[in-house]
Protein backbone atom coordinates (compact mmCIF):
# COMPACT_ATOMS: atom_id res chain seq x y z
CA UNK A 1 0.00 0.00 0.00
CA UNK A 2 1.15 3.52 -0.80
CA UNK A 3 -0.20 6.18 1.56
CA UNK A 4 -0.07 9.90 2.12
CA UNK A 5 0.19 10.78 5.80
CA UNK A 6 -0.73 14.20 7.12
CA UNK A 7 0.84 14.31 10.56
CA UNK A 8 0.79 17.01 13.24
CA UNK A 9 4.37 18.07 13.96
CA UNK A 10 5.15 20.25 16.96
CA UNK A 11 8.68 20.61 18.36
CA UNK A 12 7.63 21.27 21.95
CA UNK A 13 4.79 22.58 24.11
CA UNK A 14 5.49 26.17 23.10
CA UNK A 15 5.82 25.56 19.35
CA UNK A 16 2.83 26.52 17.19
CA UNK A 17 2.91 23.25 15.24
CA UNK A 18 1.59 22.36 11.79
CA UNK A 19 0.41 19.47 9.62
CA UNK A 20 3.24 17.95 7.56
CA UNK A 21 2.77 15.61 4.58
CA UNK A 22 4.70 12.33 4.29
CA UNK A 23 4.62 9.71 1.54
CA UNK A 24 5.04 6.12 2.67
CA UNK A 25 5.21 3.10 0.37
CA UNK A 26 5.17 -0.70 0.67
CA UNK A 27 2.95 -0.68 3.74
CA UNK A 28 1.70 -4.18 4.53
CA UNK A 29 -2.05 -4.49 5.26
CA UNK A 30 -1.08 -6.76 8.17
CA UNK A 31 0.94 -4.06 9.91
CA UNK A 32 -0.56 -2.40 12.95
CA UNK A 33 -0.96 1.36 12.69
CA UNK A 34 1.91 1.91 15.13
CA UNK A 35 4.15 -0.45 13.15
CA UNK A 36 3.41 1.66 10.09
CA UNK A 37 4.55 4.71 12.06
CA UNK A 38 7.65 2.77 13.15
CA UNK A 39 8.48 2.22 9.46
CA UNK A 40 7.94 5.91 8.75
CA UNK A 41 10.21 6.85 11.66
CA UNK A 42 12.92 4.48 10.45
CA UNK A 43 12.79 6.18 7.07
CA UNK A 44 12.92 9.64 8.69
CA UNK A 45 15.91 8.67 10.84
CA UNK A 46 17.72 7.25 7.80
CA UNK A 47 17.16 10.59 6.06
CA UNK A 48 18.49 12.45 9.09
CA UNK A 49 15.10 13.91 9.99
CA UNK A 50 13.41 14.07 13.38
CA UNK A 51 11.14 11.01 13.91
CA UNK A 52 7.48 11.51 14.77
CA UNK A 53 6.93 11.34 18.55
CA UNK A 54 3.91 9.30 19.62
CA UNK A 55 2.82 7.53 22.82
CA UNK A 56 2.83 3.74 23.02
CA UNK A 57 3.63 1.04 25.55
CA UNK A 58 1.96 -2.37 25.73
CA UNK A 59 0.78 -2.47 22.10
CA UNK A 60 -1.98 -4.91 23.04
CA UNK A 61 -4.83 -2.56 23.96
CA UNK A 62 -4.37 -2.60 27.71
CA UNK A 63 -2.20 0.30 28.82
CA UNK A 64 -4.12 3.20 27.23
CA UNK A 65 -0.92 4.93 26.13
CA UNK A 66 -1.50 5.17 22.40
CA UNK A 67 -3.59 8.17 21.63
CA UNK A 68 -3.94 9.14 18.00
CA UNK A 69 -6.78 10.94 16.30
CA UNK A 70 -6.87 9.20 12.93
CA UNK A 71 -8.96 10.50 10.03
CA UNK A 72 -11.20 12.43 12.42
CA UNK A 73 -11.77 9.68 14.98
CA UNK A 74 -10.07 8.69 18.22
CA UNK A 75 -8.10 5.46 17.66
CA UNK A 76 -9.15 5.50 14.01
CA UNK A 77 -12.14 4.15 12.10
CA UNK A 78 -12.50 0.78 13.85
CA UNK A 79 -14.60 0.21 16.99
CA UNK A 80 -13.64 -1.09 20.46
CA UNK A 81 -9.92 -0.95 19.78
CA UNK A 82 -6.97 1.23 20.66
CA UNK A 83 -4.64 2.65 18.01
CA UNK A 84 -2.16 -0.19 18.56
CA UNK A 85 -4.89 -2.70 17.65
CA UNK A 86 -5.77 -0.86 14.45
CA UNK A 87 -4.44 -2.56 11.33
CA UNK A 88 -3.55 -1.05 7.98
CA UNK A 89 -6.05 -3.36 6.26
CA UNK A 90 -8.66 -0.82 7.38
CA UNK A 91 -7.23 1.58 4.82
CA UNK A 92 -7.00 1.45 1.04
CA UNK A 93 -4.03 1.87 -1.25
CA UNK A 94 -3.63 5.54 -2.12
CA UNK A 95 -5.49 6.80 0.98
CA UNK A 96 -4.62 10.05 2.69
CA UNK A 97 -4.56 9.61 6.47
CA UNK A 98 -4.76 12.49 8.94
CA UNK A 99 -2.92 11.79 12.21
CA UNK A 100 -3.38 14.28 15.02
CA UNK A 101 -2.92 14.39 18.80
CA UNK A 102 -5.88 14.46 21.23
CA UNK A 103 -7.16 18.03 21.19
CA UNK A 104 -8.23 19.52 24.52
CA UNK A 105 -7.10 22.45 26.62
CA UNK A 106 -6.68 20.01 29.52
CA UNK A 107 -4.44 17.78 27.36
CA UNK A 108 -1.66 20.13 26.17
CA UNK A 109 0.60 18.82 23.42
CA UNK A 110 4.10 18.00 24.65
CA UNK A 111 5.58 17.06 21.29
CA UNK A 112 4.14 16.00 17.93
CA UNK A 113 1.40 13.48 18.78
CA UNK A 114 2.10 13.18 22.51
CA UNK A 115 -0.17 14.99 24.94
CA UNK A 116 0.07 15.46 28.69
CA UNK A 117 -2.76 13.44 30.26
CA UNK A 118 -1.71 14.35 33.78
CA UNK A 119 -5.18 15.86 34.29
CA UNK A 120 -6.56 12.31 34.47
CA UNK A 121 -3.99 11.41 37.14
CA UNK A 122 -4.97 14.43 39.22
CA UNK A 123 -8.66 13.50 38.95
CA UNK A 124 -7.80 9.99 40.14
CA UNK A 125 -5.78 11.40 43.02
CA UNK A 126 -8.78 13.52 44.03
CA UNK A 127 -10.88 10.46 44.85
CA UNK A 128 -10.44 7.50 42.53
CA UNK A 129 -9.51 5.06 45.28
CA UNK A 130 -10.74 3.35 48.43
CA UNK A 131 -8.91 3.56 51.73
CA UNK A 132 -8.40 -0.10 52.48
CA UNK A 133 -5.40 -1.58 54.19
CA UNK A 134 -4.09 -4.19 51.77
CA UNK A 135 -0.77 -4.82 53.48
CA UNK A 136 -0.93 -8.52 54.15
CA UNK A 137 -4.33 -8.83 55.80
CA UNK A 138 -6.62 -8.77 52.78
CA UNK A 139 -10.12 -10.10 53.40
CA UNK A 140 -11.45 -13.08 51.51
CA UNK A 141 -13.05 -11.85 48.29
CA UNK A 142 -16.33 -13.56 49.12
CA UNK A 143 -16.63 -12.15 52.65
CA UNK A 144 -19.00 -9.46 51.39
CA UNK A 145 -21.61 -10.88 48.99
CA UNK A 146 -22.19 -8.68 45.92
CA UNK A 147 -24.98 -9.31 43.47
CA UNK A 148 -23.86 -10.42 40.01
CA UNK A 149 -25.38 -7.48 38.12
CA UNK A 150 -23.56 -4.92 40.30
CA UNK A 151 -20.28 -6.84 40.14
CA UNK A 152 -20.52 -7.04 36.34
CA UNK A 153 -21.38 -3.33 35.97
CA UNK A 154 -18.51 -2.38 38.31
CA UNK A 155 -16.12 -4.58 36.33
CA UNK A 156 -17.29 -3.06 33.04
CA UNK A 157 -16.64 0.44 34.43
CA UNK A 158 -13.24 -0.67 35.73
CA UNK A 159 -12.14 -1.70 32.24
CA UNK A 160 -11.59 1.99 31.43
CA UNK A 161 -7.91 2.34 30.56
CA UNK A 162 -7.88 6.14 30.82
CA UNK A 163 -6.66 6.65 27.27
CA UNK A 164 -8.59 9.89 26.83
CA UNK A 165 -10.43 8.94 23.63
CA UNK A 166 -13.65 10.17 25.27
CA UNK A 167 -12.18 13.65 25.72
CA UNK A 168 -10.70 13.65 22.23
CA UNK A 169 -13.98 12.58 20.59
CA UNK A 170 -16.26 14.88 22.53
CA UNK A 171 -17.03 18.14 20.76
CA UNK A 172 -16.84 19.77 24.20
CA UNK A 173 -13.66 17.99 25.33
CA UNK A 174 -15.64 16.60 28.25
CA UNK A 175 -14.02 14.01 30.52
CA UNK A 176 -17.28 12.79 31.99
CA UNK A 177 -17.10 9.26 30.56
CA UNK A 178 -13.68 8.71 32.14
CA UNK A 179 -14.63 10.23 35.50
CA UNK A 180 -17.98 8.45 35.56
CA UNK A 181 -16.29 5.10 34.94
CA UNK A 182 -13.94 5.71 37.87
CA UNK A 183 -16.83 6.86 40.09
CA UNK A 184 -19.04 3.94 39.02
CA UNK A 185 -16.55 1.16 39.64
CA UNK A 186 -16.60 2.10 43.35
CA UNK A 187 -20.18 3.38 43.64
CA UNK A 188 -21.50 -0.03 42.58
CA UNK A 189 -19.61 -1.93 45.28
CA UNK A 190 -20.08 -1.89 49.08
CA UNK A 191 -16.37 -1.18 49.58
CA UNK A 192 -16.81 2.10 47.73
CA UNK A 193 -19.68 3.40 49.82
CA UNK A 194 -17.63 4.72 52.75
CA UNK A 195 -16.04 7.52 50.72
CA UNK A 196 -18.76 7.79 48.09
CA UNK A 197 -19.84 11.36 48.91
CA UNK A 198 -16.36 12.87 49.01
CA UNK A 199 -15.20 10.83 46.03
CA UNK A 200 -17.72 12.08 43.50
CA UNK A 201 -17.60 15.68 44.73
CA UNK A 202 -13.80 15.81 44.70
CA UNK A 203 -13.38 14.06 41.36
CA UNK A 204 -15.97 16.24 39.60
CA UNK A 205 -14.51 19.39 41.16
CA UNK A 206 -11.05 18.38 39.96
CA UNK A 207 -12.43 17.57 36.51
CA UNK A 208 -13.94 21.07 36.31
CA UNK A 209 -10.75 22.68 37.61
CA UNK A 210 -8.71 20.97 34.89
CA UNK A 211 -10.71 22.79 32.21
CA UNK A 212 -12.59 19.93 30.60
CA UNK A 213 -15.84 20.88 28.86
CA UNK A 214 -19.40 20.07 29.80
CA UNK A 215 -21.14 16.90 28.63
CA UNK A 216 -24.00 17.51 26.19
CA UNK A 217 -24.86 13.83 25.81
CA UNK A 218 -23.88 13.48 22.15
CA UNK A 219 -22.74 9.92 22.89
CA UNK A 220 -19.56 10.28 20.79
CA UNK A 221 -17.43 9.17 23.75
CA UNK A 222 -19.32 5.90 24.13
CA UNK A 223 -18.98 5.11 20.42
CA UNK A 224 -15.25 5.86 20.29
CA UNK A 225 -14.31 4.32 23.66
CA UNK A 226 -11.99 1.34 23.03
CA UNK A 227 -13.43 -0.43 26.06
CA UNK A 228 -17.10 0.27 25.37
CA UNK A 229 -17.70 2.27 28.56
CA UNK A 230 -21.42 3.02 28.61
CA UNK A 231 -23.21 6.36 28.98
CA UNK A 232 -25.07 4.69 31.86
CA UNK A 233 -21.99 5.49 33.92
CA UNK A 234 -22.42 9.22 33.27
CA UNK A 235 -26.05 9.00 34.38
CA UNK A 236 -24.90 7.15 37.51
CA UNK A 237 -22.26 9.80 38.21
CA UNK A 238 -24.88 12.53 37.78
CA UNK A 239 -27.08 10.78 40.35
CA UNK A 240 -24.16 10.25 42.72
CA UNK A 241 -23.09 13.88 42.37
CA UNK A 242 -26.56 15.30 42.94
CA UNK A 243 -27.09 12.99 45.91
CA UNK A 244 -23.71 13.98 47.37
CA UNK A 245 -24.37 17.71 46.78
CA UNK A 246 -27.67 17.65 48.62
CA UNK A 247 -26.19 15.49 51.36
CA UNK A 248 -23.00 17.30 52.02
Amino acid sequence: MNLTLKIWRQKNANDKGKMVDYQISDVSPDMSFLEMLDVLNTQLIEKGEEPVAFDHDCREGICGSCSLYINGEAHGPDRLITTCQLHMRKFKDGDTIYIEPWRAKAFPVIKDLIVDRGAFDRIQHAGGFISVNTSGNTQDANAIPIEKASADAAFDAATCIGCGACVASCKNSSAMLFVSAKVSQFALLPQGQVEATDRVLNMVNQMDAEGFGNCTNTGACEVECPKGISLENIARMNREYLKASFKG
Binding site: K6, W8, M19, Y69, N71, G72, E73, P77, Y98, E100, R103, A104, K105, A106, S169, K171, N172, S173, S174, M176, V204, N205, M207, D208, G211, F212, G213, N214, C215, T216, N217, T218, G219, A220, V223, E224, L231, E232, I234, A235, R236, M237, N238, R239, Y241, L242, S245, F246, G248
Partner: protein, 223 residues
Protein backbone atom coordinates in the same frame (compact mmCIF):
# COMPACT_ATOMS: atom_id res chain seq x y z
CA UNK B 1 -25.11 22.16 47.92
CA UNK B 2 -24.24 25.89 47.60
CA UNK B 3 -21.79 25.34 44.77
CA UNK B 4 -23.91 22.95 42.75
CA UNK B 5 -24.66 25.51 40.01
CA UNK B 6 -20.94 26.22 39.67
CA UNK B 7 -20.25 22.62 38.74
CA UNK B 8 -20.52 21.06 35.29
CA UNK B 9 -23.05 18.46 36.50
CA UNK B 10 -25.07 21.07 38.39
CA UNK B 11 -25.39 23.18 35.24
CA UNK B 12 -26.47 20.13 33.25
CA UNK B 13 -29.07 19.39 35.90
CA UNK B 14 -30.39 22.96 35.82
CA UNK B 15 -30.53 22.88 32.01
CA UNK B 16 -32.49 19.63 32.18
CA UNK B 17 -34.98 20.97 34.73
CA UNK B 18 -35.67 24.06 32.62
CA UNK B 19 -35.99 21.78 29.56
CA UNK B 20 -38.58 19.59 31.34
CA UNK B 21 -40.59 22.67 32.26
CA UNK B 22 -40.45 24.01 28.69
CA UNK B 23 -41.42 20.62 27.21
CA UNK B 24 -44.48 20.46 29.48
CA UNK B 25 -45.34 24.05 28.52
CA UNK B 26 -45.06 23.26 24.79
CA UNK B 27 -47.40 20.29 25.25
CA UNK B 28 -49.93 22.49 27.06
CA UNK B 29 -49.57 25.22 24.41
CA UNK B 30 -50.23 22.66 21.69
CA UNK B 31 -53.24 21.21 23.53
CA UNK B 32 -54.89 24.64 23.54
CA UNK B 33 -53.87 25.60 19.99
CA UNK B 34 -55.22 22.39 18.46
CA UNK B 35 -58.63 23.31 19.88
CA UNK B 36 -58.72 26.13 17.29
CA UNK B 37 -58.95 23.49 14.55
CA UNK B 38 -61.97 21.78 16.07
CA UNK B 39 -63.94 24.56 17.79
CA UNK B 40 -63.43 28.32 17.79
CA UNK B 41 -65.66 28.65 20.89
CA UNK B 42 -63.68 26.15 22.95
CA UNK B 43 -60.41 27.73 21.79
CA UNK B 44 -61.70 31.18 22.79
CA UNK B 45 -62.77 29.98 26.22
CA UNK B 46 -59.50 28.18 26.88
CA UNK B 47 -57.49 31.18 25.67
CA UNK B 48 -59.51 33.57 27.83
CA UNK B 49 -59.03 31.34 30.86
CA UNK B 50 -55.26 31.11 30.31
CA UNK B 51 -55.06 34.85 29.63
CA UNK B 52 -56.95 35.97 32.71
CA UNK B 53 -56.59 33.31 35.44
CA UNK B 54 -54.36 34.85 38.11
CA UNK B 55 -52.32 31.73 38.81
CA UNK B 56 -51.43 31.39 35.12
CA UNK B 57 -50.74 35.09 34.64
CA UNK B 58 -48.84 35.89 37.81
CA UNK B 59 -47.23 32.58 38.79
CA UNK B 60 -46.82 30.31 35.76
CA UNK B 61 -46.13 33.08 33.23
CA UNK B 62 -43.21 34.64 35.18
CA UNK B 63 -41.82 31.14 35.83
CA UNK B 64 -42.12 30.40 32.11
CA UNK B 65 -40.34 33.60 31.12
CA UNK B 66 -37.60 32.88 33.65
CA UNK B 67 -37.37 29.30 32.34
CA UNK B 68 -37.04 30.43 28.72
CA UNK B 69 -34.41 33.06 29.52
CA UNK B 70 -32.50 30.69 31.83
CA UNK B 71 -32.48 27.90 29.23
CA UNK B 72 -31.15 30.17 26.48
CA UNK B 73 -28.60 32.03 28.63
CA UNK B 74 -27.29 28.82 30.22
CA UNK B 75 -27.18 27.19 26.79
CA UNK B 76 -25.02 29.97 25.38
CA UNK B 77 -22.84 30.08 28.52
CA UNK B 78 -22.20 26.33 28.29
CA UNK B 79 -21.43 26.61 24.57
CA UNK B 80 -18.82 29.30 25.21
CA UNK B 81 -17.27 27.29 28.06
CA UNK B 82 -17.24 24.15 25.92
CA UNK B 83 -15.61 25.95 23.01
CA UNK B 84 -12.92 27.21 25.40
CA UNK B 85 -12.16 23.63 26.40
CA UNK B 86 -10.59 23.01 22.96
CA UNK B 87 -8.36 25.83 21.81
CA UNK B 88 -7.01 24.09 18.69
CA UNK B 89 -9.47 22.36 16.36
CA UNK B 90 -8.81 19.13 14.51
CA UNK B 91 -7.64 19.40 10.91
CA UNK B 92 -10.05 16.53 10.18
CA UNK B 93 -12.96 15.63 12.45
CA UNK B 94 -15.52 12.97 11.54
CA UNK B 95 -18.32 13.86 13.95
CA UNK B 96 -20.99 12.04 11.97
CA UNK B 97 -19.21 8.74 12.65
CA UNK B 98 -20.13 8.82 16.32
CA UNK B 99 -22.98 11.26 16.96
CA UNK B 100 -26.13 12.69 15.42
CA UNK B 101 -26.29 16.06 13.66
CA UNK B 102 -28.91 17.17 16.17
CA UNK B 103 -26.70 16.42 19.16
CA UNK B 104 -23.76 18.33 17.69
CA UNK B 105 -25.77 21.37 16.67
CA UNK B 106 -28.04 22.13 19.63
CA UNK B 107 -26.68 25.67 19.76
CA UNK B 108 -27.75 26.30 16.16
CA UNK B 109 -31.21 24.76 16.45
CA UNK B 110 -31.60 26.59 19.76
CA UNK B 111 -30.46 29.86 18.18
CA UNK B 112 -33.04 29.58 15.40
CA UNK B 113 -35.72 28.76 17.98
CA UNK B 114 -34.72 31.93 19.86
CA UNK B 115 -35.18 34.01 16.69
CA UNK B 116 -38.55 32.33 16.14
CA UNK B 117 -39.55 32.99 19.75
CA UNK B 118 -38.72 36.69 19.46
CA UNK B 119 -40.95 36.94 16.38
CA UNK B 120 -43.64 34.89 18.13
CA UNK B 121 -43.53 37.22 21.16
CA UNK B 122 -43.82 40.27 18.89
CA UNK B 123 -46.75 38.62 17.06
CA UNK B 124 -48.80 37.40 20.00
CA UNK B 125 -47.42 37.95 23.48
CA UNK B 126 -46.56 41.66 23.38
CA UNK B 127 -49.94 42.72 21.83
CA UNK B 128 -51.68 40.53 24.43
CA UNK B 129 -49.79 42.12 27.34
CA UNK B 130 -50.44 45.56 25.85
CA UNK B 131 -54.20 44.95 25.57
CA UNK B 132 -54.55 43.52 29.05
CA UNK B 133 -52.09 45.44 31.18
CA UNK B 134 -51.37 48.73 29.31
CA UNK B 135 -54.79 49.42 27.78
CA UNK B 136 -56.42 47.62 30.71
CA UNK B 137 -58.94 45.61 28.70
CA UNK B 138 -59.26 42.23 30.44
CA UNK B 139 -62.56 41.36 28.77
CA UNK B 140 -61.00 39.45 25.86
CA UNK B 141 -63.84 40.83 23.70
CA UNK B 142 -63.83 42.66 20.38
CA UNK B 143 -67.04 43.76 18.63
CA UNK B 144 -69.11 41.75 21.07
CA UNK B 145 -67.28 38.45 20.74
CA UNK B 146 -64.04 36.85 21.93
CA UNK B 147 -61.11 38.15 19.89
CA UNK B 148 -58.63 35.23 20.29
CA UNK B 149 -59.71 33.01 17.39
CA UNK B 150 -59.95 35.90 14.92
CA UNK B 151 -56.52 37.18 15.96
CA UNK B 152 -55.08 33.71 15.42
CA UNK B 153 -56.66 33.42 11.97
CA UNK B 154 -55.46 36.87 10.89
CA UNK B 155 -51.88 36.12 11.92
CA UNK B 156 -51.73 33.11 9.63
CA UNK B 157 -52.98 34.85 6.50
CA UNK B 158 -49.53 36.05 5.26
CA UNK B 159 -47.68 33.12 3.72
CA UNK B 160 -44.31 34.46 4.87
CA UNK B 161 -45.34 34.13 8.51
CA UNK B 162 -46.69 30.62 7.97
CA UNK B 163 -43.40 29.64 6.29
CA UNK B 164 -41.41 31.20 9.12
CA UNK B 165 -43.42 29.31 11.71
CA UNK B 166 -42.96 26.05 9.82
CA UNK B 167 -39.18 26.55 9.74
CA UNK B 168 -39.21 27.48 13.43
CA UNK B 169 -41.03 24.27 14.31
CA UNK B 170 -38.67 22.17 12.18
CA UNK B 171 -35.80 23.54 14.26
CA UNK B 172 -37.81 22.83 17.41
CA UNK B 173 -38.21 19.21 16.25
CA UNK B 174 -34.45 18.92 15.59
CA UNK B 175 -33.72 20.41 19.02
CA UNK B 176 -36.15 18.07 20.79
CA UNK B 177 -34.91 14.97 18.95
CA UNK B 178 -31.73 15.23 20.97
CA UNK B 179 -32.92 17.38 23.87
CA UNK B 180 -35.69 15.10 25.12
CA UNK B 181 -33.45 12.12 25.84
CA UNK B 182 -30.52 14.32 26.82
CA UNK B 183 -32.55 15.94 29.61
CA UNK B 184 -33.33 12.55 31.15
CA UNK B 185 -29.69 11.49 30.89
CA UNK B 186 -28.61 14.73 32.61
CA UNK B 187 -30.79 14.07 35.65
CA UNK B 188 -29.33 10.57 35.88
CA UNK B 189 -32.24 8.65 34.36
CA UNK B 190 -30.60 5.95 32.27
CA UNK B 191 -32.09 2.55 33.05
CA UNK B 192 -34.26 -0.23 31.63
CA UNK B 193 -36.91 2.30 30.61
CA UNK B 194 -34.49 4.46 28.60
CA UNK B 195 -35.16 2.80 25.24
CA UNK B 196 -38.93 3.21 25.63
CA UNK B 197 -38.44 6.77 26.81
CA UNK B 198 -36.29 7.58 23.78
CA UNK B 199 -39.00 6.14 21.54
CA UNK B 200 -41.60 8.31 23.22
CA UNK B 201 -39.18 11.24 22.90
CA UNK B 202 -39.03 10.79 19.13
CA UNK B 203 -42.83 10.73 18.92
CA UNK B 204 -42.99 13.89 21.06
CA UNK B 205 -40.16 15.65 19.19
CA UNK B 206 -41.74 15.06 15.78
CA UNK B 207 -45.43 14.94 16.72
CA UNK B 208 -45.75 18.22 18.63
CA UNK B 209 -43.90 20.46 16.10
CA UNK B 210 -45.73 18.70 13.25
CA UNK B 211 -48.99 19.46 15.04
CA UNK B 212 -48.07 23.15 15.34
CA UNK B 213 -47.19 23.21 11.62
CA UNK B 214 -50.56 21.62 10.84
CA UNK B 215 -52.36 24.32 12.86
CA UNK B 216 -50.54 27.12 11.02
CA UNK B 217 -51.22 25.57 7.60
CA UNK B 218 -54.84 24.80 8.52
CA UNK B 219 -55.62 28.40 9.41
CA UNK B 220 -53.76 29.70 6.36
CA UNK B 221 -55.69 27.54 3.90
CA UNK B 222 -59.06 27.29 5.67
CA UNK B 223 -59.43 30.98 6.47
Amino acid sequence: MSGILNSSIGRKFAMALSAFFLMIFILQHFAINILSVFSSETFNEASHFMGTFWAVQFILQPVLIFGVIFHFVMGFVLEIRNNNARKVSYAKNNGRANSSWMSRNMIWSGGFILVFLIIHFIDFWIPEINTKYIVGDMSGMHNGEYRYFHELQEKFIPIWRVALYCVGFIFLALHLLHGFGSAFQSVGANNKYTRALQGFGKVYAIGIPAGFIFIALYHHFVH
